[in-house]
Symmetry: C2
Subunit: 335 residues, 2 copies
DNA sequence: AGACAATATGGTAGCGCTTCCATTCCGATG
DNA sequence: CATCGGAATGGAAGCGCTACCATATTGTCT
């Protein structure tokens, strides 16, 4: 096995200096057309593949962006990652991907190992930033975008691209109230670990309080996400409160699962019970009846985050450090 | 802004040699407990973050694995990536993620820029490997796992972890035939770009031929994936062939969309028409009626791929270079 | 006591690039 | 014709580590 070719090998083959080869690769216009051609030919002949590890060490730039999400598998996050990845790729950046699993100590250790790779920028979608992690990022002095919930804007390390889970959940709950529903249940995720879920629940409660409707803890459920879990939640809540008007599921997957259960039970939606979701998952438009839900443009989060980071990497002064991508209530037929 | 601390700064602070600091970080047991403590304390005080870029250059190992998928957003792929990421993380490897978009030239350029980052191993899920890319990977001399379809095993760069789309589709079609269906339509993806889709269609045709049933091209559809598209396909196919018995959708999302359309139309499944899917998407168990489908363990692909790559990185001789993770027909009620 | 391992530590030469500083060579300028 | 400025190129000093080799110190066996 021959050793991999180095830049110096290309230089010798093309009978130019090392510096010239580097220039051909990094700033082609500073080299005469003739030498450029000669160098390119040598590169092709030798089959030279540049070593960006060495390049990064010398230039102190890696052209790598670290991205961290709670789980890679969740479409909500992978949509964000995908559009971010596309945006960065055009500018020659690659994505180092990690998952935190909503876990603080995991987040912390992941950030620290990521920083050792000297990414030029970092994106993190997650719950509250551990204090140690905050300090590390600050010291690293690279552009950072946090996402997850707009409330993160206070005390943020650097920049934030997000929406308000509180406002979104409150808006949906108010919408249900405006439709005349009064006994409204709420299904969300484990609120201990997850401040987005917490905010949604707060939004629900706030809307009820504003309407002077007591918040009943037995109508609030904390569950894992899943179709099955949605169906079970429906049955459970109807057992607890037979007069239940509506259920606000803070996730379309639960809501879709509940709609299936309604079909199995022969309950009419929204006449017997109204169902609302969250996320505008692609299934939401197709369920029977179509699901009323909250839309958040996940791709937009990734895109804006990338743009913010890129402009900072270009050295531009970023004035708007907090971007609220907002949300939208999608009124369909289920509520 | 102070400069970031280097290893030599830690060494001076702890009054030890540079080498010793390196040892504390890389092979702690080769250092006496006392010095180790002293070094660790210095690291904490200074807030030293190792520079893996420099480390990688010197050691010629990056502890990075490059992973490429057609699209990041598709749960089918992100599930594979997630389990692969978990498997690698335990061993201290990070994932560099890219998407190819099923495009050959994109794949080629992505591979070449990825290789410049000197990953220790590479995973690629996609269609046929472009010849140039094949050559580059061969020259790079790193362990590679290809996935997508088992047929890739012939002429593979290195290792393959996959299942047979042909066999899976054929098995499902045979299952429909065994249930007495005779007029069976097939819905798949654009087969030009995507050899997995091609293989599935071949499997469908092969099963029909074996049963001496003519393959009718008007009963074969090439579509984009989507709930909506599934519903439309159903309507279209029933218009083309009113006596249609069954539809085999090579993707659960289409199938679920079709099931919704059946509800809207009041058609009974599987009495009026049988519906089969592919993927065992989490929605499949919950639809009304539950969807008969093909299950492929996507997480398993990621896990096995990671294990294969890891054992090669450890220097073990890998005997089984081709791993067939297989598939499973999940019989539910829709067919 | 002498010989030899084993253990613990340090010095230093690269790893393959980028970047700074020279240097050379030209045509343009007065 | 001497002077200058820009374009094109090359030399060499790091970037911050790891890995190899050397050295010092201790314990172990005969």
């Amino acid at each position: 096995m021959k050793e991999t070719a180095r830049m110096i090998d290309v230089a010798r083959a093309a009978k130019v200096g090392l510096t010239t080869v580097s220039r051909v690769l990094n700033e082609p216009k500073s080299v005469s057309e003739e030498t450029r051609q000669r160098v390119m030919r040598a590169i092709a002949e030798i089959g030279y593949v540049p070593n960006l590890v060495a390049g990064s060490l010398a230039s102190r730039r890696t052209n790598v962006v670290a991205a961290m999400v709670p789980t890679i598998g969740n479409p909500v996050f992978s949509e964000t990652i995908e559009s971010m990845s596309d945006e960065f790729r055009e500018e020659g950046f690659h994505l180092l991907l990690g998952r935190t699993g909503e876990d603080e100590s995991e987040t912390e250790s992941l950030i620290s190992t990521f920083l050792a790779r000297r990414p030029d920028a970092l994106f993190i979608h997650g719950s509250k930033m551990p204090a140690a992690a905050h300090a590390m990022l600050q010291r690293a002095a690279i552009p950072v975008v946090e996402s997850g919930d707009l409330s993160r804007a206070e005390g943020a390390v650097d920049m934030v691209v997000a929406y308000s889970n509180f406002a979104a959940a409150k808006a949906m709950t108010s919408h249900l109230l405006s439709r005349g529903h009064r006994k409204i249940a709420f299904v969300g995720r484990e609120t201990r670990l997850n401040d987005r879920a917490q905010e949604r629940q707060r939004g629900y409660s706030a809307a009820l309080k504003e309407a002077r409707i007591p918040v009943r803890s037995e109508l609030i459920l904390d569950l894992m996400l899943g179709y099955q879990e949605g169906a079970q939640a429906l049955l459970h809540l109807r057992a607890v409160e037979p007069d239940l008007d509506a259920i606000f599921f803070a996730g379309d997957v639960w809501a879709a699962g509940a709609l299936y259960e309604c079909q199995r039970q022969g309950w009419r939606v929204p006449t017997d019970i109204a169902i609302a979701g969250f996320d505008d998952h692609i299934v939401a438009a197709q369920t029977v009846p179509p699901l009323t839900t909250v839309r958040v443009r996940r791709g937009e989060i990734g895109r804006r985050a990338a743009q913010l980071l890129l402009s900072r990497l270009r050295g531009d002064e970023v004035v708007e450090k907090i971007i609220n991508v907002g949300f939208e209530i999608i009124e369909r037929e289920s509520a």
